[in-house]
Symmetry: C2
Subunit: 345 residues, 2 copies
């Protein structure tokens, strides 16, 4: 049974601090919106769908003590909370999708009492968790249909239950195939700089009993060349209308290497990750993070302190390198401008 990544418990947010895994399993109880903002910013909770859930619960937390009695006053507090949470991380569209959804829900009941609006917001956030679970299970089934018995599957970053409320995206497709009795072997890129593959994916595979070999990112080319890998499955933080997909830095590298070796490369992501307002991926904002993640990542200084560092947290894989996009409603195929639009109809 997967760990619950994030939940609403006794009137507050409880989440597993992913920065401490795999050596420590610690749950945090967060009672203020500032704590939730910090947890998103510092990647205590990460993964596009999980960030969406954290944002929704962040809205609930931020407005629950609002003294407003009228919609106009409450709306001001709601906007403030929402804008604040939006400033935590820029790339994952699920964050903005969740904030927008919470605002629309509030507006739809604006003629009710503030207490009723607050209850409606909590119900919506809890429904988003349930929805995330259903969506992940559906993606897992569709994704598993791509996996054949005996295959090696390369993953990048973490796309297991820890990336969502509970079940996961790309890694859940592998776990679903495993539960169906297919023999699978995960090759997990460690995913520098923050090592979500080493810390989280490897840990989840061990928990699930799925064979997994951990490699450095630069070894992906070699395991492909040695035919250890038959398929690459990754997640996404924002997909443009044409199928260009932003994901953890290094994903574009995996896609180029997969093409060179004739290995299918699939994105597994819910439709909440698709940003139909963006015609192509070059408009996706890419978060740049601090140099300390690269030269001081894990307890010891590993580069000169005065060296210049480039640390984009994401990259964009162009649609022509993507074999298909697995969503909860099935697998979109090129041309994505048409197939993704059809998914929303």
């Amino acid at each position: 049974m997967p760990t619950e990544t994030i939940a609403w418990t006794d009137g507050h947010v409880r989440l597993i601090d992913q920065t401490l895994l795999p050596t420590e399993t610690r749950f945090l109880d967060l009672t203020t919106v500032e704590e939730i903002w910090e947890a998103i910013k510092m990647l205590r909770v990460r993964g596009a769908p999980a960030i969406g859930v954290a944002a929704a619960l962040g809205v609930v937390t931020g407005v629950k003590d609002s003294p407003a009695q009228r919609w106009e006053d409450f709306e001001r507090d709601l906007s403030k909370t929402s804008d604040y949470l939006a400033s935590s991380r820029p790339t994952a569209v699920n964050l903005f999708w969740a904030l927008d959804r919470m605002r629309r829900v509030a507006e739809s009941v604006r003629d009710q009492s503030v207490e009723a609006i607050k209850r409606r917001l909590l119900d919506e956030a809890l429904e988003m968790i349930e929805e995330d679970n259903r969506v992940c299970l559906a993606m897992g089934e569709h994704g598993a249909s791509l996996i054949e018995d005996g295959q090696g599957i390369l993953t990048h970053c973490n796309t297991g239950g820890l990336a969502t409320a509970k079940y996961g995206t790309a890694l859940n497709a592998v776990f679903t195939a495993h539960r169906q009795g297919k023999r699978v072997h995960v090759y997990a890129d460690e995913t520098r700089p923050l090592l979500q593959g080493a810390r989280l994916t490897a840990w989840e595979c061990l928990q699930e009993g799925v064979p997994c070999t951990l490699i450095c990112d630069s070894m992906a080319a070699v395991v492909m060349r040695e035919r250890k890998v038959d398929l690459a499955l990754v997640g996404s933080d924002r997909i443009a209308a044409n199928g260009d997909a932003a994901n953890k830095i290094g994903t574009y590298m995996v896609a180029v290497l997969a093409k060179e070796h004739g290995i299918p490369f699939y994105i597994v992501a819910p439709l909440s990750t698709v940003d139909m307002s963006l015609p192509s991926g070059d408009r996706i904002p890419i978060e740049e993070r601090g140099k300390e993640e690269i030269i001081q990542g894990f307890g010891r200084q590993t580069g000169p302190s005065d060296i210049e560092v480039y640390n984009p947290a994401f990259d964009v894989t162009p649609n022509h390198l993507i074999s298909g996009i697995v969503t909860e409603r099935g697998i979109a195929r090129p041309p994505y401008t048409e197939s993704l639009r059809a998914m929303f109809e």
Copy 2:
């Protein structure tokens, strides 16, 4: 002025402990062959040409106290020392090249006294250092001719002075271009798992005053796509007769990415790295190293202790991805079977 990576000082080996850089500059005085074996094995000295020099000085150290009075007895001690040093690291051919050269030199004076043979071995090792310096300076000139004013150059692992006795291979080509007045900018792959790019290349660029940006290996694809990089220059640990080249793990990834982005990819390595006895790269032995380098590399545990890890220290780049091989005698071009053979004539 570059640091002397390894030298013979006051009757023993002195080398800079590269595992402590960039935070500590410590020189080690090694007086036994066991200490030299350990220094090679643990990468206190690394880089194919520097390993060759370390092996030659290791032979001198291993036999200097031999009580043998006759060639037959001395030859037994020499063989034992040589076989022992050969067991330190399997991939870099320069190690075996240096050991073989030392043995042949000893044999050429076998009719002299053991003391004279010992002196001859020391002279040969010192000549190898001088030769390495001349060869590096020549490669630097040839390599610099590939670099145009204003270019970005991607490097992988460390190929500066620390990889040789003093001057370096691929990185020295960049430094030579810089000294010629060309504006250059190095993009240094950090080079997981042991971070020679972050620890050594970045440090050497700062020492030399050459602009350098440190990136994670998985970001190489992005800096190429963003046209920050015009050229890729790497070293090699063993080159087969057909031009297939073994080098630090991740080099093959760089070569595939360079091809995808239309970026020239060059190897810079002395002819002592070319193993004409191997028709192709699939016969190059690849060293596999321990899992702790990947899950416990930075002083803190970054992966589950019971996860399976694949840690090849090198990969082989096939000749068709290599634009040219820069040696001390000029730049070999495809087909390498002919051009490399011509270099030895």
